[in-house]
């Protein structure tokens, strides 16, 4: 089974505001207000930790959800953020200088 690695795009600025992660794309000034799950994934998206490990460490202990459902939902979410251009996805660790 291939792994998925995620990293916050360098073309973004983000800040936790009022308990919600607010992300700005500096490319087109689009603004995203992330929900709790997306905020957790965003903060953990270091490009080195596999998504499955992030889900096991950060999501499953917080929510009453089985591992496979949690991972599937997280994958959908990061793909969506990837489509928006604010998260980078890869099947191997994402290098610092990439």
């Amino acid at each position: 089974m291939s792994e998925t690695f995620v990293r916050r795009s360098r073309k973004t600025a983000s800040r936790m505001v009022g308990g919600e992660m607010v992300v700005l794309s500096v490319v087109d000034s689009s603004l995203f207000n992330l929900n709790e799950t997306a905020s957790i994934l965003w903060q953990a998206a270091d490009g080195r930790t596999p998504l499955r490990a992030i889900v096991e460490r950060e999501i499953i202990p917080r929510f009453e959800v089985d591992a496979e459902t949690a991972y599937r939902d997280a994958l959908d979410l990061v793909r969506e953020l990837g489509d928006q251009g604010i998260l980078e996805l890869a099947d191997r660790p994402i290098e610092e200088n990439r």
């Binding site: 505001v17 009022g18 308990g19 607010v22 700005l24 500096v26 000034s29 603004l31």
Partner: protein, 267 residues
């Protein structure tokens, strides 16, 4: 060119003095009239904008404003004016015909660039001082900025009905008066006060203040900040400034009807 042929006028907005030195002496009267209450003569300020006054430029409506950075310099072009501004050197040049509208646009852009360096911004908002505190009333065109300004009581000091000038002073956000007016066509008072609150305007059937979450406020705030340049570094700065601002200022929605009573909520 001798000094006698030059126009030298210093325009101080938001506490930032910019000397405009034009190659056409008659331009001074245009500046003095347009920026009445904000001008002074005498020694040159630390910020200098050379105005190269030419016979004619293209009409403003023919070219969309473009602002971009080349090295240390910002370049602006709207057809009716071309300008360069170097924030590091605090120097720039604007080429335009002898009219107040072109330099007005150039100054707004220069101020927005300078404000971004210090965590401030220009905001689509009316603002006024009551009881030594400033209230910002923000909204897009048609939200009621000019209407609510017209309804202000006589003890209110009107800072602007269109574009508010905000920056931190000694760790506290302050609103400054600006000569940038909207439909009211009257420049704001050249005054400053610490901020009491930022209200986002919504016209309704009653006057009341409704709470607003900070995450919603930051989105609305960013939509109303004047933003001229598509530049990643500048965009990041403005975003950080907006986040800092919403974390330290009272924010709410002001639902109002066109009635002077609304000002009792801002006493």
């Amino acid at each position: 060119m001798s000094n006698r042929e030059q126009a030298i006028v210093t325009i101080t907005i938001g506490g930032l003095p910019i000397t405009v030195r034009a190659n056409d002496a008659s331009f001074a009267s245009i500046l003095n009239k347009r920026y009445a209450g904000y001008v002074s003569s005498g020694a040159e300020a630390p910020y200098l904008l050379e105005a190269d006054i030419v016979a004619a430029m293209r009409p403003a409506e023919e070219v969309e404003l473009e602002v971009h950075r080349e090295g240390d310099e910002w370049l602006m072009d709207r057809g009716d004016f071309r300008a360069r501004w170097n924030p590091r050197a605090r120097r720039g040049v604007v080429t335009q015909s002898a009219n107040p509208y072109s330099i007005d646009s150039a100054l707004r852009i220069i101020h927005s660039l300078e404000l971004a360096k210090v965590g401030g911004f220009l905001l689509h908002a009316a603002s006024a001082i009551r009881g030594n505190r400033a209230f910002l009333l923000s909204g897009v065109s048609g939200a009621g900025k000019t209407t609510i300004t017209r309804l202000a009581p006589s003890d209110a000091i009107r800072l602007t009905d269109e574009i508010s000038y905000i920056r931190p002073v000694d760790g506290e956000y302050c609103a400054f008066g600006t000569p940038f007016s909207g439909e009211l066509g009257v420049p704001g008072e050249n005054a400053v006060a610490p901020l009491a609150a930022l209200y986002f305007l919504t016209q309704g059937l009653e006057n009341r203040i409704a709470p607003m979450s900070r995450e919603t406020a930051v989105s609305k705030l960013l939509r109303n900040i004047l933003f001229f340049a598509h530049d990643e570094d500048l965009t990041s700065r403005v975003f950080r400034a907006a986040c800092d601002f919403v974390e330290s200022v009272e924010l709410a929605q002001l639902i109002f009807r066109p009635d002077p009573e609304v000002w009792s909520l801002m006493a």
